[in-house]
């Protein structure tokens, strides 16, 4: 099946003001397959421009898209072919410059989703109208670790000013790829008129006619291009450091290009600079890994690889056993996403009361923000039963267990649950390190038990590890995947191996980092060195976030299971037993707690490692563990590991999780003589 080609259709309308040309971008598919620009699209545009340049009687041009879609930029699939990616900059610049040079007024009527190259082609028109129904506008290039390469960095500052250009081209993409709603885009200056979607194109045609007749004018004289530059630049630099640790070149490059244009740089020269930047970035590992990560997290994981092809059990009633901090978060999530009767079971009335406060408080917050009507919140509150009795759990189709990490306790609870549940009701455990298979052994129906491991904070992190114990039924597993989908979480399947995927790799990673301490490096040195990989935080900052005891517990599980390579450093035990909330005392300016610093014993005669050596040690430890997980069949595919690290650990897109990084930087080849990611279909499969 070949992908649809976005074509530029040209029609004419003879109107009282003269002949209008209407240029429609349409790939002949519905809105689920948006218009994108690949090589064939540029050929089609070039044909249309030939015709327009030769026409002698055209008075004005309207450029628009198909229903719900203007254009969403470059064809990522075409971009993954390097030869197109390398030519693309010039192709786009040449075509868009010709559009800009047409000798009659042109209006881009942004009727729908408009991103990247779509926004760039619009900026090449003399004016823009924007529909209230255009759901999303954005420059997502920096998110993919390239730069807008078809004039975006050069035209945006001229049209909307440098501050808005920086915020939309650099800051937004780094800020979880934030996009603009149409009202915001209009207010920032990306459009000259804002029309209701009901008659958007009719109004846009009238506006174009007004421009031709002189009844309408565009006045951008009030724009001070450099206004707010320093602040926007500093904010962007802070965001770059915070989000990428400077480990990817694209954001800085985009900032430079914008500044060049804003300071009055020549447009033709700016186009060349942009093109050079794009050429360099697009062939670099960061951009390639970003596309891979994008495809993994936006496409592949949504197909739920590993989900058995049997119907899931329909959830009409859910229960959470254990209403503590984690249970309350899970309850809130289940209630808001599943919207079914929910039973919160605990042994402690006080815990249940705090749980109710949490669940109801979360609903009240949504009401306060205007995201939920008070009546709906009231109804959802009424769906929850807070109870100390298992009798109330009867009738639940899906029960999540979230109690203390003790095997005997969990087994006892499962037995109590089985007494009240029907035979097919699914029991899911949120354990992070215990054997799910062992938990189920004493049940009459062990096939109903599945692992369902969330990441903290539950409301924020999008990953769930779905764990497949030995005896699990296809129906239970399918149900777990379906619940994950309804909870709007991304599910990655793994076998019932100790600590599953993310925590196992992070613990090994931490082990590599602690080893550096013994060599005489400080906590900060290790954190700084590791962070330069582009991670959101260093391992010791993360340790504080996870909780020292929790991390130690996971480490013990892994040590018990795998022995030497997970041997717990005595320093770690000392650190964990310190009773401190973390490694660093944030109230004292982020100094390491003295007792924790004292817990580290530097080996005799050791010399501190360089930053490169620290990184290499940590990275190679992870590489070794990832290799073992694949060889042992813990996960089916290196792409599952990468998906999990991207979504569960927040490891950066520009590294492609971890396996892609190891392949790209030659670590895989050096250590194992083969790459991790063997599937040529980088994430689309």
């Amino acid at each position: 099946m070949s992908d649809p080609v976005t074509r530029f259709h040209l029609t004419y309308a003879d109107r009282p003001v003269g002949r209008l040309a209407l240029l429609t971008m349409d790939n002949g598919e519905d809105h689920k397959k948006p218009n994108v620009f690949g090589p064939a699209a540029f050929e089609s545009l070039s044909d249309a421009l030939d015709e327009l340049e030769a026409a002698e009687d055209v008075a004005g041009l309207l450029l628009t898209g198909k229903p719900f879609i203007f254009a969403v930029g470059a064809d990522l699939k075409a971009f993954s072919q390097l030869d197109f990616a390398l030519q693309a900059g010039k192709l786009g610049h040449d075509a868009f410059a010709r559009l800009q040079a047409l000798p009659f007024p042109s209006v881009a009527a942004i009727n729908g989703a408009c991103m990247g190259g779509g926004l760039e082609i619009a900026l090449h028109c003399d004016a823009r109208t924007l529909s209230t129904g255009a759901q999303v506008l954005a420059f997502p290039e920096v998110f993919l670790n390239i730069v807008p390469g078809w004039g975006g960095t050069q035209l945006a500052p001229r049209i909307v000013g440098v501050k808005d250009a920086i915020e939309t081209i650099v800051t937004n993409p780094l800020n979880n790829n934030q996009t603009m709603r149409p009202k915001e885009a209009f207010e920032r200056g990306y459009a000259d008129r804002f029309f209701d979607s009901a008659t958007f194109l009719d109004d846009s045609v009238a506006f174009l006619e007004g421009l031709i007749s002189g009844e309408e004018t565009i006045d951008r004289s009030g724009l001070d291009v450099m206004e707010g530059f320093e602040e926007a630049r500093n904010n962007a630099l802070g965001m770059i450091e915070g989000k990428t640790a400077g480990a990817t070149p694209a954001p800085h490059k985009a900032l430079e290009l914008i500044e060049f244009a804003a300071r009055g740089g020549d447009l033709a020269e700016g186009r060349v600079k942009e093109q050079e930047a794009l050429t360099e970035l697009v062939s670099g590992r960061h951009a390639q890994a970003s596309v891979y990560s994008f495809n993994l997290t936006q496409q592949r994981v949504k197909k739920q690889p590993g989900k058995p092809d049997v119907p899931a059990r329909r959830i009409r009633r859910a229960a959470i056993v254990g209403a503590g901090l984690m249970g309350a978060q899970l309850g809130s999530l289940h209630l808001q996403r599943l919207e079914v009767p929910l039973v919160m079971k605990d042994i402690d009335e006080g815990v249940l009361e705090r749980c109710r406060e949490h669940i109801e408080g979360e609903l009240d917050k949504r009401v306060a923000k205007g995201r939920m009507k008070p009546g709906k919140a009231g109804f959802l509150k009424s769906l929850v039963t807070y109870t100390t009795s298992y009798d109330d759990v009867a009738g639940a189709d899906w029960v999540m267990e979230a109690v203390l990490e003790r095997m005997d306790l969990k087994q006892a609870i499962f037995a109590d649950l089985e007494a009240v549940l029907d035979e097919q009701a699914v029991i899911a455990t949120n354990t992070s390190s215990l054997s799910v298979t062992e938990m189920a052994t004493k049940l009459a129906h062990p096939e109903r038990v599945v692992g369902f491991h969330f990441f903290n904070p539950v409301a924020v992190l999008p990953l769930v590890e779905v764990i497949r114990p030995e005896k699990v039924s296809d129906e239970a597993l399918s149900t777990a995947f379906e619940v994950a989908k309804q909870l709007k979480k991304s599910a990655v399947l793994c076998t019932d191996a100790p600590a599953f995927i993310v925590n196992r790799l992070l613990t090994r990673f931490l082990g590599g980092s602690i080893a550096a301490l013994r060599q005489g490096n400080s906590f900060q040195e290790v954190d700084d060195a590791i962070r330069r990989l582009g991670l959101p935080m260093g391992p010791f900052v993360l340790l504080g976030l996870v909780g020292l005891q929790v991390a130690l517990h996971t480490a013990e599980t892994l040590e018990d299971a795998f022995g030497e390579r997970f041997a717990i450093d005595p320093a770690f035990r000392g650190i964990a037993d310190s009773g401190r909330p973390g490694i660093y005392d944030w109230e004292a300016g982020g100094e390491v707690y003295p007792d924790i610093a004292a817990a580290v014993e530097v080996e005799e005669g050791a010399t501190p490692l360089s930053a490169d050596e620290i990184r290499a040690m940590a990275v190679e430890a992870v590489a070794d563990e990832a290799r073992r997980m694949l060889d042992d069949g813990v996960v089916a595919d290196a792409r599952d590991i990468d998906t999990a690290m991207l979504l569960g650990a927040g490891w950066p897109f520009f590294n492609g999780g971890i396996c892609m990084y190891l392949d790209q930087t030659g670590v895989s080849e050096r250590l194992f003589g083969r790459p991790f990611v063997t599937d040529k279909d980088h994430g689309r499969g």
Binding site: H9, T11, G28, K66, D196, A198, L201, D202, S204
Partner: protein, 390 residues
């Protein structure tokens, strides 16, 4: 009556041909209606959209893109505000005409002040008869003649009843319709109430701004050469009948109070109306008894009427009307701007077009005081509305 119902303004989209290469082959019916409503309100900016009291909208096929209680759907889709109610109306070809008199009545009894009334029919999306299931008793109990449900056959029946209404006279009337429409088009008559629409096509968006149906090059010969599709040797042809079309449009009616409050300029007022039933197998005769009843009720004769805008479902029905009122075939007072034979007839919409053209006529002819809009209706009905200069 406590108030007067004034016609303020009317807007329609160009009428398209109901075929897969026609203007609106890729456009929804409700979107066409939304376009006309928004343009109508844009032209009358002093009228706050959220103070419209009701939206009465007609369609014959009330399913699919013409379903979901059109008036209310349109109020929401056109952004009038959620406080604006609406309803759907069906009286086949006289849908919009019925919507207009209902709206007028709501104003006349003082219940409402501002009402939008109109109609839509996308005959491309809803081919005639495709979505109905006539009760078998119509035929088994001989309630209607078997020919009554096919409009072309009813036109042939009307010829049978009126042998003086010959094929030649009908073709002559059809030619007149084409000529008068072409002249009105050239004179800019339709610019007073037709707005351009941007429509999708596989070749890209297009702007359509003139009616698609007229055939300006029509000659007596070309008309004479057409055969009747309805019976061998028949007299009703594609040339002397209205077409199958897509169209939408509506009018704004207002009370005295609303006229004053919003500074509106009324063009005419709705005086009275009449609906009648006739034999279903000769439904085309409906306008004659309907107009007679209307004139009698108001103690008027046809001489008191300065202009008649009559729907041209079939030329035979128009010529029979002219004969009944002793008017010549080329009477200047009947359809001075041409009619549906040239322009097309998107069923439930057409009544709104008649009112718009009548208003334009009165506006351009200060000496004219009074007009009638009239049409025949499937299953044997006739309708006529009496209007006076405001």
């Amino acid at each position: 009556m406590t108030a007067t119902a004034y016609y303020i303004d009317g807007v329609r989209v160009p009428i398209g041909r109901a075929k897969d290469t026609g203007y609106y082959a890729h456009t929804r019916a409700d979107d066409l209606a939304v376009r006309s409503i928004r343009a109508l309100l844009e032209r009358n900016p002093t009228v706050p959209a959220d103070q419209i009291d009701d939206v009465a909208w007609a369609a014959t096929a009330q399913v699919g893109d013409q379903g979901l209680t059109l008036g209310r759907s349109l109020a929401i889709l056109a952004g009038l505000g959620k406080t604006v109610p609406g309803y759907a109306i069906d009286r086949m070809c006289a849908g919009a005409m019925t919507a207009i008199v209902n709206a007028g009545n709501a104003i006349r009894v003082g219940a409402q002040d501002l009402v939008l009334a109109g109609g839509v029919e996308h005959m491309g999306n809803h081919p005639m008869g495709a979505e109905i299931d006539p009760n078998p008793r119509f035929l088994s109990d001989k309630l209607v003649d078997p020919t009554a449900l096919v409009m072309g056959n009813t036109a042939e029946n009307l010829h049978d009843d009126h042998p003086d209404v010959t094929r030649d006279r009908c073709d002559a009337f059809a030619l007149l319709s084409q000529e008068r429409t072409a002249k009105a088009q050239a004179d800019g008559i339709f610019e007073t109430h037709v707005v351009p629409v941007t429509v999708r096509s596989p070749e890209g968006w297009r702007v359509v701004d003139v009616d698609e149906h007229p055939r300006p090059g029509t000659t007596p010969e070309s008309l004479a050469g057409l055969e009747s599709p309805f019976r061998p040797g028949g007299r009703v042809t594609a040339g002397n009948a209205a077409g199958l079309n897509d169209g939408a449009g509506g009018v704004l009616l207002a009370s005295d109070a609303a006229v004053e409050e919003h500074g509106l300029t009324p063009k005419m007022k709705m005086v009275d109306y009449a609906f009648v039933g006739v034999e279903p197998e000769t439904m085309g005769y409906g306008p004659v008894p309907a107009t007679r009843k209307l004139l009698e009720r108001n103690q008027l004769t046809i001489d008191d009427i300065d202009v008649v805008d009559m729907n041209e479902a079939f030329a035979v029905q128009c010529v029979a009307f002219l004969d009944a009122f002793d008017l010549p075939l080329d009477s200047e007072k009947v359809n001075p701007y041409g009619g549906a034979i040239a322009m097309g007839h998107p069923l439930a919409f057409s009544g709104a077009r008649l009112a718009m053209q009548l208003a334009t006529y009165l506006d351009r002819h200060p000496e004219a005081q009074r007009g009638v809009t009239t049409m025949c209706i499937g299953l044997g009905m006739g309708a006529a509305v009496l209007w006076e200069r405001a």
